[in-house]
């Protein structure tokens, strides 16, 4: 074997995280993180909703299906919701969704709900970095591929039932 074999350069896995932040607290907090020039991991993509109560579980599942490695939900602290109780409704849905995701073999670190008040820029930084680290450790999310009619036309016949050695 020659000595000059150079190993292929492996690019570090950069998780893709979709974040749904409520307009009044968490989105404001992440703006504040900006004005305070707090550097943090560049992996989140924030989608602004007026209230964490607007976050439909279908958004989360869609994000995961469309390639997100994680989803971060951010809302006002309990009792501080701009719309009184939207964050609690988010909590109710999230609590049930977590159970389902666990059943589907999706690690809990991938989908998180955090209460971050408008002033808590440092929490935006902390939570984001922490989540990115955790997901880097988990690696990319591999959902089972959804077969498409066309794609399947001349698909190879499956390995036989008894075929497993």
């Amino acid at each position: 074997m020659p000595d000059d074999v150079s190993l292929p350069v492996v690019e570090e896995f950069q998780p893709r995280i979709v974040a749904f932040f409520c307009n009044w607290c968490t989105y404001t907090a992440s703006d504040l993180a900006g004005t305070s020039r707090m550097t943090y991991a560049p992996n989140t993509r924030v989608i602004r909703v007026m209230c964490s109560g607007r976050i439909d579980p279908q958004f989360i599942l869609t994000a995961l299906r469309r390639g997100a490695d994680g989803v971060l939900l951010g809302g006002c602290r309990p009792g501080d919701c701009h719309y009184r109780e939207g964050n609690y409704k988010c909590l109710r849905r999230f609590t049930l969704l977590k159970k389902y995701l666990a059943q589907m073999g999706i690690e809990e670190q991938r989908v998180r709900l955090e209460w971050i008040a408008a002033s808590e820029a440092d929490r935006v930084q902390k939570v984001t970095n922490q989540m990115v680290d955790q997901i880097k450790n988990l690696g990319p999310l591999h959902l089972e591929h959804i077969p498409h009619a066309e794609a399947l036309h001349d698909a190879p016949v499956a390995v036989a039932a008894g075929g497993a050695p």
Partner: protein
């Protein structure tokens, strides 16, 4: 099924503008590449980058394109929508494009300012732009809801901030409700004797304003009252105010104080510390907070009054009152008022020096706070204006300690802004009144602003000594006979680099400013935010210093952060102006992000009805479907997220728009 990226319809013509924001964005994000990338996105007719998109030429550029290239959608990738969305929406509107066919991508706060690696910053910026482009393609023209604004204004807090704001508004012809928790307006300023740097007497400049408030036809002053509840929204707040029972018919009392004289609690041990004199004197159960109290109306302390506590008392006060103003049966009353704007001016509380035991406050008789000194110096104060020790003797040496509770990680990290000048004022007054030797122990002297440094020079010239170093402790442990019976200040003099022991007769602690203890519940009542330490959060540290994140609610004075009087008054003026321009305009545009029901899809399952925090949803029993009352809807979208039929929809945040955004941030490349 998965929502497939829907190709923008034929007529979608999008213009994308990438802002450099000077170097704020351009220095981190490769704006040219971002622009070229944007140009490749479906539906994009033109993509440009520009130094300052928000500048006039920037806006004109966009408007010109809208006209010439007949764009029907616009995306600006710059700062946070919370900062400039309005700006660009207006620009679009001016060019005849619906302001709601505009979308912003936040590539400054969320990208350039928070990302280290330019490569990754570029990726992030691109994905956000792609998302905005996809989203805007689904945007629809909407007509903003305009609602009338109630012309009256509520001012909460009767300190100098509240007083000043109330007077400005009242002079502008607006009706103002001024609500103060204590029995009199005036706040902390009323407790001061002199005001730095000009040393004019606080009362002389404040009391006229106080009586103006009292007599102003446009001002309804409610002291000894608190805001219980605030409902509604900008322009149309519904406020509940609790007027605590003061057991005095305010309209009858003339403040003659005969009742106070008469009160049976004559023995000092039956009396309680006088709030106004910060406990340096005692008061009776019925009392006048201070001579110039406004309203000049006594109040009865229910926790001290025998009649109110035990139900039996000679009621000498009732005897004494010729106008029969005393009413033991008085009860709290709740008043409802409608206002268009609210100014919060709830002030601060001084740091509790007991939290620093090594400074001996509360342990050693002759350790005072700066506020106590103000009362001692004051002619109407407990000592008739004399600075004397508890034993009545005049101090020969006084040590004034700066930064007590401020710039100290154990307590408050912030600089309280006023204490340096406050301590200088104290030094000057002590020197002037007692001729004592005065030492100031400071960490840094902070005497910015007009006339302050000059005042510092003056105090230096008066022979006050300044020792740089944070005091370690105040002790009564004497090492030498000279120290016997004195308070010894142990400090490292950082300028000569030695630890010193300085014996003095009196120690004055320049205590810092803290948020009011109940600022947390205030934020909930008014639906505003506060920083972790409890100061109320302004909308923007530079561009929105008196606005909050709740439209129609403004901030004035130290409740937003430590301030001295000049700064407080300036900010109160600003808050008044902001409130004025809201109520004067007469109407507000309500963001048309309300929810609505697509009837033919609604099954009338009632899921949404209990979820609405504003009771905006009802069921039309005829059609068997839900109906949303647009006027009540605040656009949180909770019902939309809960609807199992996809029949509830939210303007500006439709499922489609959000799915496009998800699609955009994930599969942009």
């Amino acid at each position: 099924m998965i929502m497939e990226p829907s190709a923008p319809t034929e007529e979608t013509r999008i213009g994308v503008y990438i802002c450099h924001c000077g170097a704020n964005i351009a220095a981190k994000v490769d704006v040219e590449t971002t622009r070229d990338f944007a140009a490749t996105l479906p539906g994009v007719i033109v993509a440009r980058d520009y130094k300052f998109a928000c500048s006039d030429p920037g806006q004109e550029m966009i408007q010109q394109d809208i006209g010439e290239l007949n764009l029907n959608r616009v995306v600006v990738a710059s700062c946070s929508p919370l900062l400039h969305e309005k700006t660009f929406r207006n620009a679009c509107a001016a060019a005849g494009l619906s302001p709601f066919c505009f979308q912003m991508a936040n590539i400054r706060e969320h990208v350039s300012w928070v990302t280290a690696d330019p490569e990754l910053a570029l990726e992030k910026a691109k994905s956000l732009v792609a998302a905005a482009v996809r989203r805007v393609a689904r945007a629809r023209a909407l007509t903003p809801k305009q609602v009338p604004v109630h012309p009256d204004v509520l001012v909460v807090g009767g300190g100098i901030a509240g007083i000043h704001a109330a007077l400005i508004l009242a002079n502008a012809g607006k009706k103002v409700y001024l609500v103060e928790r204590r029995p009199t307006i005036g706040g902390h300023m009323a407790q001061f004797d002199k005001t730095f740097p000009t040393m004019d007497c606080a009362a002389c400049i404040l009391t006229p304003k106080m009586s103006d408030v009292k007599s102003h036809p446009n001002i309804t002053m409610w002291t000894y009252s608190e805001v219980e509840e605030v409902a509604g929204f900008t322009g149309n707040f519904k406020v509940k105010v609790r007027r605590k029972a003061r057991y005095i018919k305010e309209d009858l009392c003339v403040g003659c104080n005969d009742c106070v004289e008469a009160c049976v609690l004559k023995k000092e041990k039956t009396q309680v510390p006088d709030e106004f004199n910060v406990g340096l004197s005692k008061r009776k159960a019925i009392y006048m907070p201070f001579p110039q109290a406004t309203p000049a109306c006594v109040v009865i302390d229910p926790k001290q009054c025998l009649q109110l506590m035990k139900g039996k008392c000679a009621q000498a006060c009732v005897e004494a009152c010729e106008r029969a103003a005393i009413d033991f049966d008085q009860e709290d009353e709740i008043l409802d008022v409608d206002v268009g704007a609210i100014i919060i001016a709830t002030g601060y509380q001084p740091f509790n020096a007991r939290k620093i035991p090594e400074y001996g406050y509360g342990r050693f008789d002759n350790v005072y706070t700066t506020l106590e000194i103000e009362r001692l110096v004051n002619a109407s104060g407990p000592t008739g204006g004399e600075i004397i020790l508890r034993d009545g003797s005049v101090p020969k040496s006084v040590g004034i300690i700066h930064c007590v509770g401020s710039r100290d990680r154990r307590f408050n990290p912030w600089c309280s802004n006023v204490c340096c000048m406050g301590a200088l004022k104290a030094a000057h007054l002590v020197k002037e009144r007692t001729g004592a030797e005065v030492f100031n122990f400071y960490v840094d002297m902070r005497t910015a602003f007009k006339g302050y440094e000059e005042f510092y020079d003056q105090v230096l010239a008066e022979g006050v000594q300044f020792i740089r170093g944070r005091v370690a402790e105040v002790t009564d442990w004497a090492m030498t006979p000279a120290e016997q019976g004195k308070l010894v200040i142990r400090v490292e003099d950082t300028l000569i680099g030695v630890a010193r022991r300085i014996p003095v007769d009196m120690v004055v602690l320049a205590v810092g400013l803290e948020p009011q203890p109940d600022s947390g519940s205030v934020t909930r009542t008014f639906n505003i935010s506060c920083s972790p330490e409890g100061f109320f959060l302004e909308r923007h540290p530079k561009l929105g210093p008196v606005s909050t994140f709740t439209d129609g609610v403004f901030l004035a004075g130290a409740c937003q952060g430590p301030k001295d009087i000049p700064e407080t008054v300036a900010q109160a003026g600003a808050a008044a102006a902001e409130a004025l321009c809201l109520v004067d305009r007469g109407f507000v545009d309500i963001e048309p992000n309300t929810a609505w029901i697509e009837e033919e899809f609604c099954s009338g399952c009632k899921t949404c009805i209990p979820l609405c925090p504003f009771h905006a949803i009802e069921r039309d029993e005829e059609k068997g479907v839900a109906v949303i009352n647009e006027a009540l809807c605040k656009g949180c979208g909770t019902c939309v997220a809960a609807c199992p039929s996809g029949a509830a929809r939210q303007n500006l945040f439709t499922d489609e728009q959000i799915y496009e955004e998800i699609e955009g941030v994930l599969s942009y490349a």
